[in-house]
């Protein structure tokens, strides 16, 4: 029991808190500098969404560091153990207690977002309508029998972690097909095999999948994978290449029946449809500096249309989804040519938690520092008197 007690005492200690803060500071610092060369997404994955990592100081000295994810878990433990359970409850610590609780709420909100949020974008040309949004990073494979509305889905979670040399088999439920994936590349391009060069990659129908280095902006990566579809009753197989930017799905024919197999960004259905009526953008007069972006949209839910304006800093929130104005194009459109507008779409159950926690933390700090200030003022006025 003694050991448990001292472990708890350590976890609850100021020393532990201080060390965690210092490590967080260090990681935030190196994570900021690394963005210059590494790009935001990669930096995030390496420094902030990790348990451990190896950072090369001054590009030479390698050092094992705890990742921000691990540090945040430890901080939560320290905060609960030291900042709430062990904290002596009395008038002078009530502010601290409230502030600590607020931070805990904030961290909880962060965790909910990390674990449950769905993020993506919805890109619409003027007059276009859609009720699904697409992920920026994640992929999925759909298999659909021609003439059938039902789609079979292989979620990206099940194949995005594959090595190029690995292969995985996915039986397709309620259908005679079996999908085998191999040679997965997170960023690749389909290229025709010319006579003048050799490639180690398999060539199918004169084209092959050429893996490329990861793009600096992760949303520019286009995944690709070699696929073999097997018709289990007949044992026949068909090979092909699935590529994220392919013009059309890959057709498969067995025993007089046809299927379409497609790799695309993961799609999330929305409980309503959005039509882009008009996109407006304005520049500050005589400059190329944007002054305003605004999309006039109609939300259609249960056949009831309702008009909204989505602007910078003015998103549309509905049914747990939030649509933000995030981009537009084509940048060189001639007058009259239809424009498209891109909305970031987020489903975050903890959307309003930061605001609540902000209020709690502010109140806690006000109480605590307010008390200290009054104590100080009293002491000083006694001295001056």
């Amino acid at each position: 029991m003694k050991i448990l007690e001292s472990i708890f005492a350590f976890l609850a200690s100021y020393a532990f808190a201080t060390v965690i803060f210092l490590f967080l500071l260090l990681l935030t610092f190196v994570g900021t500098l690394e963005q210059v060369d590494m790009g935001l997404y990669e930096t995030q994955q390496k420094y902030f969404n990790s348990i451990f990592l190896v950072h090369k100081f001054f590009d030479t000295v390698p050092m094992l560091l705890p990742g921000v994810q691990l540090l945040l878990i430890l901080l939560a433990i320290n905060l609960i153990a030291g900042g709430i359970i062990r904290l002596r409850k009395r008038a002078t610590t009530v502010g601290v207690l409230i502030a600590h609780f607020g931070i805990l709420v904030l961290m909880f909100g962060g965790w909910v977002k990390y674990a449950y949020a769905e993020e993506g974008h919805l890109t619409l040309f003027e007059k276009q309508q859609s009720s699904v949004f697409e992920s920026y990073y994640d992929w999925e494979i759909t298999i659909q029998k021609v003439g059938d509305t039902k789609e079979h889905l292989i979620d990206g979670e099940r194949f995005q972690d594959m090595n190029p040399s690995e292969s995985r088999v996915f039986p397709v439920k309620d259908s005679p097909l079996e999908v085998t994936l191999r040679g997965y590349a997170p960023n690749a391009r389909v290229m025709p095999k010319g006579p003048a060069f050799e490639t180690a990659q398999p060539v199918i129908d004169g084209v092959f999948l050429n893996p490329e280095p990861l793009a600096k902006e992760a949303e520019q990566n286009v995944a690709g994978v070699y696929v073999t579809i097997k018709h289990t009753p007949s044992g026949q197989t068909q090979d092909g290449i699935l590529w994220g930017f392919a013009q059309s799905p890959m057709p498969v024919n067995f025993a007089g029946e046809s299927w379409l197999v497609d790799l695309h960004h993961k799609r999330y259905p929305m409980p309503f449809a959005i039509t882009l009526n008009k996109f407006h953008h304005e520049l500050h007069p005589g400059t190329s500096r944007p002054k305003m972006f605004m999309s006039e949209v109609t939300k259609i839910e249960n056949n009831t249309p309702q008009d909204y304006r989505i602007e910078m800093n003015e998103p549309l929130r509905h049914k747990g989804l939030t649509l933000y104005q995030s981009g537009w194009g084509p940048q060189n459109a001639r007058p009259g040519q239809p424009l498209f507008s891109t909305f970031s779409v987020v489903r975050n159950p903890a959307d309003q938690v930061p605001l609540i926690s902000c209020l709690i933390v502010t109140f806690g700090m006000l109480v605590h520092f307010g008390l200290k200030l009054t104590r100080y003022l009293r002491a000083e006025s006694k001295r001056l008197a």
Partner: protein
């Protein structure tokens, strides 16, 4: 580079201009007479559209000259200092003289070596005429280096690009009124004069009026006609074409100033003479009222040697533009902005009277110690005249310097009553000026106090001084007062330096995402207050470290514990605003981009301040650090703040990057080094105390705020 890249069109037209005889004769230069003061004021308040907003011409001139010359003034041919507006008037109406003002600051003589211009000093000022032989080479090099990103250019390469921009900008100004000076019929054939539907010697505006007929004529000449010799026809067509091309070329030179408000209230872009020429070609009817206004400007050009007529004509022109701007609701802020930068000379009488009143009030207070109101009144009497005399931030800096002197004397003679009265007044007065300045900026741009990097400097300065004054009010130890004065000097010095080195309007229009008053008012101001407090805590910590290092008041532990208390208090104040600001930033990001936290460099910077201050407070609570440790940690805090405030902007990534020149990088490196030395000094103190003979060891009494009360339990580990 924040600067707009302008096409270097004059490189192309240089030869053309020389051929037309527009380039001036090098020998005969008439010295412009000094401009009438009233006329300068009229010109100053002439509205002009630049960078997306309407501003007084004086603001335009100030920043244009700052870019060229690094100052708001320049010496004319009589070696007299003239203001930026007078310089601009010379550029427009006496270009041949303005070309001989040494108005180009060249930071590195290597630039001149590169373009083959003779020089003496490493850093010097040159006139356009001096640079002229090297200009083709300059433009050639600049367009070559412009293909590189600014951060990949060498120092000299960058200076060459900057100089080319400046030369181009100057050329655009000095050729702005060429359209009014050019004689379009000189050297033309008699046949052309007959053909063209305008009378011989007609001015630019008169020709613009006839532009549709002229175009029709050109079209008629291009279609074959019966009974006319084809060759004659082609020749005539060519002559008309050349005439129109010349017209176009000259018009194209007058793009620098968008002086003419459009008639249609829905059109946001103001027009330059080039735009009016364009308009006359496209929609002649719409252009007519604008052409009429252009004619007024044209008349001015011819009147330059008749000061009185010139002045009345200028007033008429200014009135016209002003009325048009007023009708569009775009003029109201112009006089206010003029006042903000230039003050108001009419206040001279008031100024003199108030100075006398000020002196009287100080004396009154001296003999009537109980009359506290006299101090307040004296502060007002000192502040108001400073508001009217020129640029208020320069005046504020001067007053802070004065206060620094007063405070320094006060340390030498702590009993002096007159100094005791003057010290708070000389600090409060510039602080009020800074607050008035910030408020005027808010009104002029209809925005909260902080929306650009420049404004953070002003806001941080004001906050630091006010917080320090509040501390002084609480404890009356003179320490916070002295720091207030010192930091006021530093802050305003930095603000002025930044404004001058950037040479861009400090009230720019904002990109769409930043253009939200609610978040600017909440997030940006709180984060900036956090910076201010972090820096003030560090400043107080300096006193602790230097005091210990040089053994000031060694027998006075109460002094040191009071310094610690102040540091601690300001640190807590800072943490409060840093946490609040950082979280608010997240909430803003959640509202505009859909994510609370994106690890953007500027966000990370704010977070780093929070983390460091939390680490300090928890280390303090666990008693891992004491007074000296707190001081050293707070000095390091200044480095963290500086990184967050300026450093991350130099990284050039992320959604917040504002972009600025390399001068800032250098200053920042110096700041980091100096603060590192202070931290080292702190460690020297620590080592000295540690290895001091045991007999001398006196553990200083813990400060009242830092007593055991706040500790929860003994920490382990």
């Amino acid at each position: 580079m924040n600067r707009r890249i302008r096409p270097l069109i004059l490189a192309v037209f240089g030869a053309f201009l020389a051929g037309m005889g527009l380039a001036d004769a090098q020998d005969i230069v008439s010295k412009p007479p000094p401009w009438d003061r009233e006329l300068v004021k009229l010109a100053s308040t002439l509205p002009v559209q630049e960078d997306g907003r309407i501003k007084p011409l004086s603001t335009y001139a100030d920043f244009a000259l700052l870019r060229l010359n690094g100052k708001r003034e320049v010496y004319n041919l009589d070696e007299k200092r003239i203001s930026s507006t007078e310089w601009l008037l010379d550029c427009l109406f006496y270009p041949e003289a303005a070309r001989r003002y040494k108005s180009f600051l060249v930071e590195a003589s290597e630039v001149l070596d590169a373009i083959g211009v003779a020089h003496e000093k490493k850093r010097d000022r040159y006139s356009y005429a001096q640079l002229e032989p090297g200009i083709p080479k300059l433009f050639q090099l600049a367009s070559q280096y412009s293909t590189k990103e600014a951060k990949d250019r060498g120092i000299v390469e960058n200076q060459i690009v900057i100089l080319a921009h400046n030369v181009n900008e100057f050329e655009l100004l000095s050729h702005y009124l060429d359209f009014a000076r050019h004689s379009y019929f000189e050297g033309q054939s008699e046949r052309l004069k007959q053909l063209v539907p305008v009378e011989d010697g007609a001015a630019f505006s008169a020709i613009l009026m006839k532009l549709p007929t002229l175009r029709q004529l050109y079209l008629t000449l291009s279609t074959p006609q019966e009974g006319v010799d084809q060759q004659t026809l082609a020749q005539e067509q060519k002559q008309v074409e050349q005439f129109m091309t010349t017209l176009g070329h000259v018009a194209d030179l007058s793009t620098a100033l968008a002086l003419f408000p459009p008639a249609d209230p829905k059109t946001p872009e103001w027009l330059s003479p080039a735009d009016i020429a364009q308009l006359s070609l496209v929609t002649p009817e719409e252009a007519q009222p604008q052409v009429a206004k252009l004619a007024e400007l044209e008349k001015l050009t011819a009147l330059r040697d008749q000061p009185d007529t010139f002045k009345s004509q200028f007033a008429a022109f200014q009135q016209q533009i002003m009325d048009a701007a007023k009708a569009r609701g775009e003029y109201s802020k112009v006089p206010l902005e003029y006042f903000y930068y230039k003050g108001d000379r009419r206040g001279f009488m008031l100024t003199s009277v108030l100075f006398v009143v000020f002196a009287g009030l100080v004396l009154y207070r001296l003999f009537r110690p109980e009359a506290r109101w006299a101090t307040v009144a004296a502060t007002v009497a000192l502040t108001v005249p400073m508001l009217f005399q020129g640029y208020l931030f320069y005046n504020a800096l001067t007053l802070y310097l004065l206060s620094f002197l007063v405070v320094a004397l006060l340390w030498v003679r702590p009993k002096s009553r007159i100094l005791g009265i003057l010290a708070p007044i000389t600090i409060a007065a510039p602080t009020i000026l800074v607050l008035v300045g910030i408020t005027l900026r808010c009104i002029i741009r209809s925005r909260p106090p902080v929306s650009t990097l420049y404004e953070t400097v002003l806001f941080v300065t004001a906050s630091v001084v006010i917080v320090a004054l509040a501390i002084e009010w609480m404890n009356r130890r003179k320490l916070a007062l002295s720091l207030a004065s010192m930091l006021g000097v530093l802050g305003l010095f930095l603000a002025n330096k930044y404004e001058m080195s950037e040479g861009v309007d400090t009230m720019p229009s904002l990109v769409a995402v930043l253009d939200t008053n609610f978040w600017l008012a909440t997030h940006v101001t709180t984060v900036t207050l956090g910076y201010a407090a972090g820096l003030l805590a560090a400043a107080i910590a300096h006193v602790y470290i230097f005091g210990k290092l040089f053994r000031v008041k060694p027998a006075d532990p109460a002094f040191y514990s009071s310094v610690t208390n102040m540091t601690y208090g300001v640190l807590c104040f800072g943490l409060f605003f840093s946490v609040l600001g950082t979280v608010l930033g997240g909430i803003w990001a959640n509202d505009s981009w859909g994510r609370f936290w994106g690890w953007d460099p500027k966000e990370n910077g704010a977070l780093m301040i929070v983390l460091w201050e939390l680490a300090i407070l928890h280390a303090l609570a666990g008693r891992y650090i004491r007074e000296l440790g707190l001081a050293i940690a707070c000095v390091f805090g200044a480095i963290v703040v500086a990184f967050s405030w300026w450093g991350v902007n130099l990284l050039g990534v992320g959604l917040h990057s504002y972009g600025f020149t390399s001068g800032a990088a250098q200053s920042l490196a110096i700041f980091y080094s100096v603060e590192s030395v202070v931290i080292l000094a702190g460690f020297v103190v620590w080592l000295r105390d540690r290895f001091r003979p045991a007999a001398e060891e006196v553990e200083p009494e813990p400060a009242p705020v830092l007593t055991g009360k706040q500790r929860t339990r003994p920490a382990k580990g």
